[in-house]
């Protein structure tokens, strides 16, 4: 139990007749954890149950090795949370807000103020920190939400769609910061996002939730290894020639609607494919190893779940 940052046993949540979470039992080790699922799948409910923002209908959960029902307040001193929706304390400028959040986690005022400024620097907030939070753009609100979630130096941080509303450059920055939280500072991250590329980029584990149940939970590299390696070959105009070349080598090759050739093979690297193409005089423009593999896994998991639900 203590090897897991999150563990649940039969965790269920009902809202009237609607089942938001159904008998969820998982044990998730520390790391950067991606929480994937379509809208209404139960991702946010799962997070809220763990943070005790809502009381589970049944089941048990442990966060950082402690029972949430018995040590909820103590656990929350070690946990950060950036909710998806806009929420702030009214009438405060950014640095006051983050300072206040640090104090709510038990920091003395002087340390809270100093740390608030450090965290606002960390998330890339400049002079905007002296403006009222109510006047912030969506991107600034995302940054200030991240700052308040990590200001008390938590051991695990829950981020609900943290890149929503950010421009591409801002998104890159924030994703890099989130990645560094685990990779460089050892803070486990639970990232809920509908952007699979975000999850694939910064997470080393995924939990796929749909219809209130966990469909899949494992390390991303292990899940990918279970699938047949797949490569997309982009050529200038010789798609049919490429397909024929690959089939001759004994691999299944198909043309995708975008004109690229998808090859399912059993090679651990691209060397044999390049050699086969070279032998036929084909020069690929680009070769993408296992593109969209996470998306494929996600779609497959959803299809399986819908199949079961029918």
């Amino acid at each position: 139990m203590h090897d897991s940052v999150i563990q649940t046993e039969g965790l269920s949540q009902r809202f009237g007749k609607q089942i938001a979470l159904h008998e969820v039992s998982v044990a998730i080790p520390p790391g950067a954890i991606g929480l994937l699922g379509p809208n209404g799948a139960g991702k946010s409910t799962f997070m809220k149950c763990l943070l005790q923002l809502i009381k589970p209908t049944s089941g048990k959960a442990w966060l950082l090795g402690k029972d949430i029902a018995k040590a909820g307040r103590e656990i929350r001193t070690r946990v950060g949370y950036a909710p998806e929706q806009d929420c702030h304390i009214p009438g405060m400028v950014g640095c006051e807000y983050v300072t206040y959040c640090a104090q709510l986690s038990g920091m003395p005022f002087q340390e809270a103020r100093q740390r608030a400024h450090e965290m606002l620097d960390f998330v890339g907030m400049g002079q905007e920190r002296y403006r009222m939070v109510d006047t912030y753009s969506t991107g600034m609100k995302q940054r200030v939400k991240l700052a308040q979630a990590i200001v008390h130096d938590p051991e695990i941080v829950f981020l609900d769609e943290p890149t929503n509303g950010l421009d591409p450059a801002g998104r890159e920055q924030i994703l890099e910061l989130i990645r560094s939280l685990w990779v460089e500072h050892g803070i486990s991250v639970v990232l809920s996002s509908h952007l699979l590329s975000d999850v694939e980029r910064i997470c080393d584990q995924i939990v796929i939730i749909a219809l209130g149940s966990v469909l899949m939970q494992d390390r991303i590299d292990r899940l990918k290894a279970q699938r047949q390696p797949c490569t997309e070959i982009i050529t200038e105009s010789a798609s049919e020639k490429t397909i024929a070349c690959m089939q001759r080598a004994g691999w299944k090759a198909t043309q995708l609607p975008n004109g690229h050739v998808q090859v399912e093979h059993d090679c651990s690297h691209l060397g044999p494919l390049i050699a086969a193409l070279d032998a036929d005089g084909i020069t690929p423009l680009e070769m993408l190893q296992s593109p969209n593999q996470l998306e494929t896994l996600f779609v497959q998991a959803l299809e399986t779940s819908h199949g079961h639900s029918l």
Binding site: T77, Y100, L104, G106, M107, V123, H152, E176, L177, E184
Partner: protein, 329 residues
């Protein structure tokens, strides 16, 4: 341009306890309330009233000092008022235990009641800032995701409104008592007036706790700040109107009024009728001021139990509201 992740450093300090966090909530709420200039003006008004009471008590003490300006002033009055004042002085000199107790008791009965509408207006102005604002800005999610439970958040908010009311009601009462006693010609006033202090503190603390709990409940009723203010005004003014207009015919209706409940507590605690009968007994000349004495003799009797039950019912409703409404969406 990327942000260097080395800007993040682990915190190695020691986290403070739960009471520190509750105080942080109270302090922040008070800051929000204090930013309203009308609250600041009303607080000033409360302290002006406190000084007026101190001056009155100082005046009573000065009646015993023959060289004092007040003593000379009294000697310039007509015969009848002068005789009453002389009677009061003689009574104070003969039975300081009874006279000081009754004088201070009546003074605090009236003054603490004059503070009551002021406190109610202040509560009206604070209602939107207490919980309603946090509901509309979804700040509850932030509070609840920190190391604070539902109860801790409410305790913090309760401390904020209770603290503010203490500043405008309890502290002025204690201050007036202390100043009145310290400026009196005899230290014995401190002893003889102790009952008035205890009655005042008892009444004011109970009233503040009741009003604070109701204010939190009303503030949690809606996300819309104006709506909560209107609900509070309806609860206060309509209740008062019903108590006045229908209270005699339907006595239970009187207990729908906050002010009636508080008045009943004041009568139970201060027992002004006893002080009045003491005064009338020892200062028979007071009977010539028929309008005053008739008013005193008409002091209503109180039904302490009924007012406690009514207050308990209202407080219960408030707690139910707080339990049901103050939660993250």
């Amino acid at each position: 341009m990327g942000i260097p992740s080395s800007l993040y450093q682990h915190w190695t300090g020691q986290a403070r306890g739960i009471w520190h966090r509750r105080l942080v909530v109270a302090n922040q709420t008070l800051k929000g309330i204090w930013s309203n200039k009308w609250i600041r003006h009303l607080c000033l008004g409360a302290w002006v009233l406190c000084l007026a009471q101190s001056a009155l008590l100082f005046g009573v003490g000065q009646l015993l000092v023959k060289e004092s300006a007040i003593y000379s002033l009294v000697n310039q009055l007509d015969n009848q008022p002068r005789a009453i004042v002389s009677g009061l002085v003689s009574w104070i000199l003969e039975r300081p235990d009874l006279s000081v107790s009754s004088t201070y008791g009546l003074s605090f009965y009236y003054f603490t009641r004059w503070f009551q509408p002021l406190a109610l207006v202040i509560v009206t102005l604070t209602i939107p800032t207490l919980i309603s604002q946090d509901l509309s800005s979804r700040a509850i999610i932030i509070y609840r995701s920190k190391a604070l439970g539902h109860r801790d958040y409410l305790i913090g908010k309760f401390m904020a409104i209770f603290g503010l009311l203490s500043f405008v009601w309890l502290l002025p009462a204690i201050h007036a008592w202390l100043l009145g006693c310290l400026l009196s010609p005899s230290w014995s006033f401190l002893w003889h007036a102790r009952q008035a202090l205890m009655q005042s503190v008892g009444f004011v603390v109970a009233s503040m706790a009741f009003l604070s709990l109701l204010a939190l409940g009303v503030s949690a009723l809606s996300k819309r700040e104006k709506a909560t203010t209107i609900i509070w005004l309806v609860l206060w003014l309509v209740g008062h109107f019903l108590a006045k207009s229908q209270g005699e015919q339907y006595p239970w209706m009187a207990y729908l009024s906050l002010t009636h409940i508080l008045d009943q507590w004041a009568i139970c605690l201060f027992n002004p009728a006893t002080h009045v009968s003491q005064l009338m007994e020892n200062l028979p000349l007071l009977e010539s001021f028929s309008s005053l004495t008739e008013r005193w003799l008409r002091l209503p009797s109180a039904n302490g139990m009924a007012s406690l039950i009514a207050a308990g019912f209202m407080a219960g409703l408030s707690l139910i509201t707080l339990k049901g409404k103050v939660k993250p969406e």
